[in-house]
């Protein structure tokens, strides 16, 4: 059993955590939820020995402990499965599992013992991976199992899962939840951090809600419905998550896509988009959602015709952007934003010629930044701060501003609310609806079906690179979408 | 100590002698070749490997030039010239030449100690080894033509002391840190010590090149208003010093460099007031080494010839003055 008492941690004058108490029991799944910035990751870093708290005590099995290094925490039986997996891509599964604790014989690696440890741990977590495969070559979900196997091989009694499902496709998520239940039944204690409240409800015994660095409430099963948890997280009653849809029937066609192919992941895509319409693109991971949007935006080589308000669109991404097609990528850190650069720099980035011809007009860019700050309610201290210092939701707003600055007619949004907390999600939905109301056409690709159902006028479902279905109105249910997405089989429910 | 000009003369005489001698007794010569025989069979071309440092400054460029010139002089010998930019590279280059097969090796070592083992291997395989400039740490060479770096500094120091009448301030401009540099600088300082009135006011580094020498002296000139002379550890650097002095209108300061660069020798010859003298350390010593190897190996009979050839010669450092400059001036050399 791990217990944290009266934990307070300050970064400079800012208190990230204030007098937090938390008790993780073996044989129990403990949910940890809160909006971004609520202090979850600081708490996890303290538990895993990455930082030493300013005040407060940690105890393991009633004995006070002080973790100066991650190694000490893992020796005490606490293992962490990070969202960004901590595996070495160019080592094999076996080597990763024993990494840093390799069994030795006569000073040399004991390969046989390493293999045995790995095989046993993989078996325990039900991993199908080849122990000799390079981690680089494994799909994400399998990599995660390797990481969990590593925790198991270290005889961890408490495993902390830091947003493990954020990067997983649906079937893998379901499997992972099953594994967590199984580990619990074997007497392992689990701390589970997730933005997906349905997952929390499905597996947790206890849920601690953090807000502004403090524990605001603790909930116990079975009283864990999202409708109960969400208001505690955001500290206010959520207005309706999804704004009302505008009527688009009879509006002129904004974009027409015909026979668009970017092999192997986009094949013969064909659809129309009306002004003011929000079109969803659903599909399992690998179905080709991102690739479809990138092909439209000119970011990957493709064949087929695209026309914008009757005008044919062609050329590279720069030309298409100028013609009015903007693509906001899913991964803000890698592709969407320059996280090290300032907010205003980012907002000007996709429209450099506009702000610099040839000399940079810093004043105009600052004015644009301030305008977007007002319009999208971006919470920032200074336009000169690096965009990486903002919360996920605000980063996403900056990304939106960056591409809206060019006044596009069609906005392609890829996972617009990934890694964004629930309060900010609602705001982003509102922004998207407002943009549509202005007459812009939006395409939203997402792995979160409730989001598509709540937001879109119409949803295209992709499977293996093809658009296999289109649902509208009352047809828009998770079940129908999953039917299309997975072929004919019926989708299973989380619980 | 043998004067360089004397060596050249005797060498030419010796080589013609060998040619005459062996041509009349060719059959016996091939029969008498020793077991590990360095000498090629009669009628075969003599194969000589020449291993020298890459051209990283004027003097080594001169070594390269002289080696190529000498090669052209002996169309009947198969002379392979390989340049190496580091001791380890030189070791592998020599090994490669041994593997290919040579009768003789002429080596100007980048570093004495590092090259000794591979020279020893060559010797053990019966290859005739001529060492030029820098020796080996063991007596493995058949002939060692030694350059005199201590003398390089000493001869210049003696001239400076005399010209200054035992009184004055000088800058000693050194090259890159290396054995050669240390020997030259110490030779210079030791000899200066004998004249207490001469003061070495600075020992800046000129990196064996004109630009660095120019900058270093340029920086120091304002500090030493009463400077009388500059000694430079080679002629590349001496030219940099000249430029710095001219730009600062300090043409009353004069320079003694060394190495036998043709431009500097010319200046001395033309009685340039800034170059009253220089000292020799001519890169053509590699030519002497090649001459010796060729003449020793050509047409066999090596055992007998050993008795005619010296084991060790030190190439004297000569003071070049307007009076004798003509004999050290090689206008066609690139150095």
């Amino acid at each position: 059993m791990v217990e944290a008492q009266g934990i307070t941690h300050r970064f400079g004058s800012f208190a990230a955590l204030t007098s937090v108490n938390l008790r993780l029991q073996v044989g129990e799944i403990h949910g940890l939820i809160g909006e971004n910035g609520a202090g979850k990751s600081t708490l996890l870093r303290i538990l895993s020995g990455l930082i030493i708290p300013s005040e407060g005590e940690l105890s393991v099995d009633g004995v006070a402990r002080r973790f100066a290094r991650p190694r000490e925490a893992s020796d005490a039986g606490i293992a962490v499965v990070h969202q960004e997996l901590n595996l070495i891509p160019d080592l094999t599964v076996i080597e990763n599992i024993s990494l840093g604790r390799e069994p030795r014989r006569a000073g040399l690696l004991d390969r046989a013992a390493m293999r045995e440890i790995a095989v046993r741990a993989l078996e325990r977590v039900g991993s199908p991976s080849d122990p000799d495969a390079l981690v680089r070559d494994l799909p994400l979900a399998e990599q995660q199992l390797v990481e969990i196997a590593r925790a198991m091989s270290q005889n961890a009694r408490i495993i902390i899962f830091d947003e493990p499902t954020a990067v997983l496709p649906r079937p893998a998520t379901l499997k992972l939840l099953d594994l967590m239940r199984q580990l619990k039944s074997e007497g392992v204690g689990i701390a589970f951090v997730s933005h997906h409240l349905d997952e929390i409800e499905a597996v947790c015994d206890v849920v601690t809600v953090l807000r502004d660095g403090q524990v605001v409430k603790e909930f116990h099963a079975p009283d864990l419905a999202p409708e109960v948890l969400a208001p505690a997280m955001v500290g206010r009653d959520l207005e309706d998550m999804y704004p009302a849809r505008t009527e688009v029937n009879g509006k002129p066609v904004a974009m027409q896509v015909q026979g668009l192919s970017a092999p192997p992941l986009v094949q013969g895509a064909q659809f129309e988009l009306r002004e003011g319409e929000i079109l969803g693109v659903a599909g399992l991971v690998g179905a080709g959602r991102t690739e479809l949007l990138e092909a439209i935006a000119g970011l990957r080589p493709c064949s087929g015709q695209i026309s914008l308000k009757g005008q044919a669109v062609s050329g590279n991404a720069r030309r298409r952007l100028a013609q009015g097609i903007a693509y906001v990528p899913e991964d803000r850190k890698v592709t969407g934003l320059h996280v090290d650069l300032s907010i205003e720099e980012n907002i000007g980035m996709a429209q450099l010629p506009k702000f610099a011809r040839p000399m940079l007009n810093a004043g105009a860019r600052r004015a644009a930044t301030e305008a977007w700050k007002e319009r999208l309610d971006i919470k920032m201290r200074s336009a000169e701060d690096p965009v990486g210092s903002l919360s996920g939701g605000n980063q996403q707003k900056v990304a939106l501003a960056k591409w809206l600055e060019g006044d596009p007619a069609v906005l392609l949004l890829d996972e617009p609310t990934r890694g964004v907390d629930i309060g900010a999600k609602a705001e982003i939905y509102k922004v998207i609806a407002d943009l549509a109301a202005e007459g812009r056409a939006c395409v939203v690709a997402s792995s979160e079906m409730p989001e598509l159902i709540g937001l879109c006028h119409r949803i295209l479902v992709m499977r293996q690179g093809r658009i296999v279905g289109e649902v509208t109105g009352t047809e828009m249910t998770e079940e129908t979408i999953l039917n299309y997405a997975a072929g004919v089989e019926t989708g299973e429910d989380v619980a | 100590m043998i004067r360089w000009s004397a060596i050249a003369a005797s060498l030419l005489a010796a080589s013609t002698l060998f040619v005459g001698c062996t041509s009349s007794s060719a059959p016996t010569a091939s029969g008498a070749a020793p077991a590990g025989g360095a000498a090629p069979a009669a009628g075969q071309k003599v194969r000589i490997g020449v291993s020298i440092p890459s051209a990283t400054h004027g003097w080594t460029a001169g070594v390269n030039w002289w080696a190529e010139q000498t090669k052209a002089l002996y169309p009947d010998a198969e002379i392979t010239i390989v340049t190496s930019d580091s001791p380890s590279k030189q070791v592998s280059d020599i090994e490669a030449m041994l593997a290919k097969g040579v009768d003789g090796m002429v080596i100007l070592a980048t570093e004495s100690a590092a090259i000794t083992p591979v020279a020893k291997t060559a010797k053990e395989r019966g290859v005739y080894v001529v060492s030029v400039d820098r020796g080996f740490t063991e007596p493995v060479a058949d002939i060692f033509l030694e350059g005199d770096n201590i003398g390089f500094g000493r001869v210049a120091a003696e001239f400076i002391s005399k010209k200054l009448n035992g009184n004055g301030k000088v800058i000693a401009l050194q090259g890159l840190p290396s054995t050669v540099n240390t020997d030259r600088l110490n030779g210079f300082k030791e000899a200066i010590k004998g004249t207490p009135g001469i003061q070495i006011v600075a020992e800046p580094e000129g990196g064996w090149n004109r630009d660095q020498a120019y900058k270093a002296v340029q920086t120091l000139l304002p500090k030493h208003a009463d400077l009388a002379a500059v000694w430079a550890a080679d002629d590349d650097m001496a030219l940099g010093v000249e430029q710095a002095l001219k730009e600062a209108n300090r043409t009353n300061v004069w320079i003694v460099g060394g190495g036998g660069m043709k431009d500097v020798v010319k200046k001395v010859m033309d009685k340039d007031a800034m170059f009253p003298a220089t000292v020799t350390y001519s890169p053509n010593m590699i030519a002497s080494g090649i001459h010796m190897a060729v003449s020793a190996l050509r047409d066999g009979n090596i055992d007998k010839k050993r008795g005619y050839l010296p084991r060790h010669m030190r190439i004297s450092v000569d003071l070049v003055t307007p009076e004798n400059a003509q004999q050290f001036y090689f206008p066609d050399s690139i150095y």
């Binding site: 940079l360 | 051209a55 990283t56 004027g58 600075a202 020992e203 630009d211 940099g240 430029q243």
Partner: protein, 320 residues
């Protein structure tokens, strides 16, 4: 505090300056000595300015020293082909050839990196050895002397008289001019912002529809131009090109200056003005080592220690 983080190198320079002034006020503070600090380092300075651009754009260029030598060797050969009576026209031809060839060689580096998809380190390492080798071939590994005894050396050695024997040479003015141009390009134009963007995050720049390959190539072209100018000034200073040792290790000195100036070798961060002060710090160290007659075997140690110190002082302290 923010100023210190952004311009720490300027503070470091003035600290070193004060220390030097206290140690040897008589010699160090002479106006001609202070001018020498810039004049002797015009070539390194020009290359460092260009190198800042390349490094900010996420690249590196190891070929600069060899590149300037090759450009100058060809330039001088062109000068000499006009004969001893070539006059101003010959000098103009040499200038155009040297600077033009430098720029073209920079373009080759850039294309190898972008179209050739080679790692910048590898592509320019090839240039480092290959350009030098070509220069050795042209100069027979020796020196190429200019046949313009009077006119050509003026580029580096003549200029505006400031009174006494103080001179602002054309070379110094070219350096200052290029530094100003580079600063404006980097801070005030779409091109510069593009360089920062590409160096900071190449992928995101691609998604923001920036012309990534063009931007990267142009950074090498600009450095090639700077290196060509550096070669011109070097050749003019000595009125000759020593093909075997001109510009050796200049790439490391230039990179050192950029790093002292606080740029990140990972790209996306760096300021031209800070690099200029990085060059001045190196110049100042070299000047003091000569003036103080420090044993030449120790010079490298002192230089290394001061570079280390300058970089450590500027290092961002992690806030969390």
């Amino acid at each position: 505090m923010k100023f210190l983080k952004q311009y720490g190198v300027i503070v470091a320079f003035f600290l070193l300056f004060i220390v030097s002034a206290i140690m040897d006020p008589g010699n160090f503070l002479r106006p001609e000595n202070l001018l020498l600090l810039v004049r002797q380092n015009v070539d390194i300075g020009l290359i460092a300015v260009g190198m800042t651009i390349v490094i900010v754009a996420g690249g590196i260029d190891l070929s600069v020293g060899a590149l300037m030598t090759l450009a100058a060797a060809v330039g001088l050969t062109a000068l000499n082909q006009q004969g001893p009576a070539g006059g101003a026209a010959a000098v103009a031809i040499a200038t155009v050839v040297t600077v033009g060839l430098g720029t073209v060689l920079g373009l080759i580096n850039g294309l190898l990196v972008t179209m050739g998809r080679l790692a910048p380190f590898v592509a320019t390492l090839c240039g480092l050895v290959a350009f030098r080798s070509l220069a050795l071939v042209i100069g027979q590994a020796g020196e190429i002397r200019s046949m313009s005894p009077d006119l050509f050396p003026r580029i580096a050695n003549e200029g505006i008289n400031l009174g006494g024997n103080l001179k602002l040479t054309w070379g110094m003015m070219i350096f200052i001019g290029m530094a100003v141009i580079a600063h404006i390009l980097l801070e005030r134009t779409a091109l510069g912002r593009g360089w920062v963007a590409v160096g900071s995050n190449e992928k995101a720049s691609h998604y923001a529809a920036l012309p990534v390959a063009k931007l990267k190539t142009l950074s090498y072209v600009f450095l090639g131009l700077c290196s060509g100018l550096a070669g011109l000034i070097y050749a003019s200073r000595l009125n000759s090109v020593s093909t075997n040792n001109m510009g050796t290790l200049y790439e490391l000195d230039a990179i050192a200056a950029v790093v002292i100036g606080g740029a990140s070798l990972a790209g996306g961060k760096g300021k031209v003005i800070n690099t200029v002060f990085g060059v001045l710090i190196l110049a100042l160290i070299g000047n003091m080592l000569v003036l103080q007659n420090v044993d030449s075997n120790w010079k490298g140690f002192v230089k290394g220690a001061i570079i280390l110190l300058a970089v450590m002082v500027q290092r961002e302290r992690k806030a969390s």
